[in-house]
């Protein structure tokens, strides 16, 4: 009897340690329940759900890349600038007569290249990626401002690609950005947890030296994951462009921190080697849920930031506790 409880307890611990997203599931449920109680008539509706998914769309797609890189043990603060850079240049290219699809493919490749470059500088020099990507963030934002002179650029005409990236589905407020978010979550979840590449990513994040001894090409994994984070940010930027057809040079300022917030809420450790794509997805949903819920609850809107700050700290405490208790002690 005693051994049975011990073993079932052990399997519970195993479950917790293998699922970093449990913390965020708990906080997500509690907060959703709270909003449900506060506004029972407005909250549980399809339009609210669609609004949350729409809000989480661009943020979530960016966060997946950021989380993937955080699990590799690195940061990319330049995602907010890439988020604006890619759509900005796509608009400039389309205005110059290029097809939007071609322009998008080119700019997404450039975004990947920017990520790889940031990674290369980081790995080559040994400077923390916090600094290199911070520099890249400022550099790219400066280019944006210099080129536009501070003016927004507008996408003239329409293109089928905008409907694919972020078109309206029905009249209730559902958009294709939600489908992109779900699909990318699934893809990266599979890559991270069910492919050798995912294993390498965990290994590089947990201990680069050990990973190298085991034959993992640490360099390459890091560079590719830097590229992915930048690529996904660019894609998210294109999604924002597709809806509003306008890019302000300030677009995406602060997005990098929100993406890190989502990833950390979702159970990613700042030190790398541990985290979850599904958790990050829920983290982005939680951020969106809080924003929507507070408006629907009729709360003074200025409280949002304070609220999300408290949630972030509590969720991180839970995650750190879980990790210290169940992961590092074996």
């Amino acid at each position: 009897m005693a051994t049975q409880t011990a073993s079932s307890r052990k399997s519970l611990l195993l479950l917790i340690s293998q699922h970093p997203e449990l913390g965020v599931i708990a906080s997500f449920s509690i907060i959703a329940l709270a909003f449900l109680v506060i506004s029972p008539d407005k909250f549980p509706t399809s339009s609210t759900l669609y609004s949350i998914l729409t809000l989480a769309g661009e943020l979530g797609v960016t966060s997946i890349g950021v989380a993937f890189l955080m699990i590799t043990g690195e940061f990319n603060l330049s995602v907010g600038s890439v988020y604006a850079l890619v759509p900005m240049f796509v608009v400039l290219m389309v205005d110059a007569g290029m097809d939007m699809l071609l322009a998008s493919v080119i700019m997404l490749s450039v975004a990947f290249g920017i990520g790889v470059l940031t990674g290369y500088i980081t790995v080559r020099t040994g400077i923390p990626s916090f600094i290199t990507s911070l520099g890249m963030m400022m550099f790219l934002r400066g280019i944006l401002l210099a080129i536009t002179g501070g003016f927004p650029v507008r996408l003239e005409g329409s293109h089928w690609l905008t409907d694919v990236l972020n078109g309206a589905v029905g009249v209730e407020g559902l958009r294709t950005s939600a489908a992109w978010l779900l699909a990318l979550t699934l893809i990266f979840l599979i890559i991270l947890d069910y492919t050798p590449y995912g294993n390498w990513t965990y290994a590089v994040g947990a201990s680069p030296a050990t990973a190298r001894e085991l034959g993992v090409k640490v360099w390459r994994v890091k560079l590719v994951n830097f590229g992915i984070s930048s690529l996904l940010a660019g894609l998210a930027g294109l999604m924002a462009l597709s809806r509003f057809k306008i890019v302000d040079p300030t677009l995406g300022q602060g997005l990098e921190l929100e993406a890190i917030t989502s990833a950390v809420l979702g159970g990613c450790l700042l030190t790398g080697g541990y985290g979850s794509i599904f958790g990050t997805f829920l983290g982005a949903l939680l951020v969106a849920l809080t924003r929507v819920g507070l408006v629907l609850a009729g709360a003074p809107a200025y409280w949002y930031s304070a609220f999300i700050g408290v949630i972030l700290i509590i969720a991180t405490i839970i995650n750190t506790y879980v990790v210290r208790k169940f992961v590092t002690s074996g």
């Binding site: 339009s47 609210t48 790889v116 002179g149 501070g150 560079l223 924003r291 408006v295 809107a301 200025y302």
Partner: protein, 357 residues
Amino acid sequence: MSQQQKSKGTALAVYIIIGIIIGAVLGYAVASMTMVPYSKYAALETELEQYKAGAGKPGAPEYTFYYVSHGGPADPWWAPVIKGSQLAGQMLNVKVVYSGPEKFSIQALVDLLNSAIAAKPQGIILTITDYKALDEPARRAISQGIPIIAVNVPDPRPANQRIPYLSYVGQNEYDAGYYLAKYLIDKGYKPKRVVIGIHEVGHVGLETRAKGITDAITQAYPGTPVEKLDITSDPTKAAEAFKNYLTKYPDTDVIFTLGPLGAHPALQVLKEKNLVGKVHLLTVDIDDVILKAIENGELEAAVSQQPFAQGFLPVVFMYLYVKYGIIPPAHVPTGPTVIDKTKLDTVRKQIATTGGA
């Protein structure tokens, strides 16, 4: 061995990418040196060029003025201000140095003001974005004999307490909100519920505009709910915030926004939810998206503060003061001017010639 070769291949690819990016940057740098800045506004450019080439103009500028503002190059609203200040400088043969932080930051503004004072110019033109933070450096400048003209945001304190600047050139933010809301009321419309989307919470100017709107409506119709909504400067968040507010309060029939960053997503929401004509949208500040929306009847009215004048006039007043001792009037208003369908043509002229309204 082969692994080494492979990583050499990776390194080569990376070098190529670095090369492309450096090349692009250098290319842009060369292009920007040979290109005339602000090339969007051809008429103004030629005018400036003429002054630059100016027959018989003396070479060295007579005075140097610093234009220190919270509006950085990121905010398109400030582009005509910068141009206005530069054109006045060219015309009067004065060097006008414009400096503003890239992102809204009071600390950065104070730092810029301190650098301006250190440069010992003949005059400083300053936005009093935060009178507490700017009080000490501004008074120090004045005590050193550098006159100050306030623009865009005044010191809100009574005359005997405020920073002793020569004059304030600009619209009163409170009036901008007040007269915009009054426009709606004067048309005979009685709002049921009003929401004000604020895209930079804590910005004194925006909060004051919102207060002007609130006062105008509650004075005319006491008891009408008027609420502020934090929409952030991100379009997706702004759009969804408006949507959720409309879900929460379906009786909302008037939306005010305090700048293009709020007006663009609000327009999008009205279109997506088929609320054009049912919900009245009014905004402060103007750009071509907003003008187009006024023309199409999607947006009721916008208030313009004629930013070019806020760049041009203070330089002229500073020049008159420094050169001839002419004391400017205490307040030179540049607005608010409410733009609706009837005034579109005049505003278009202003935009075509100055780049903003």
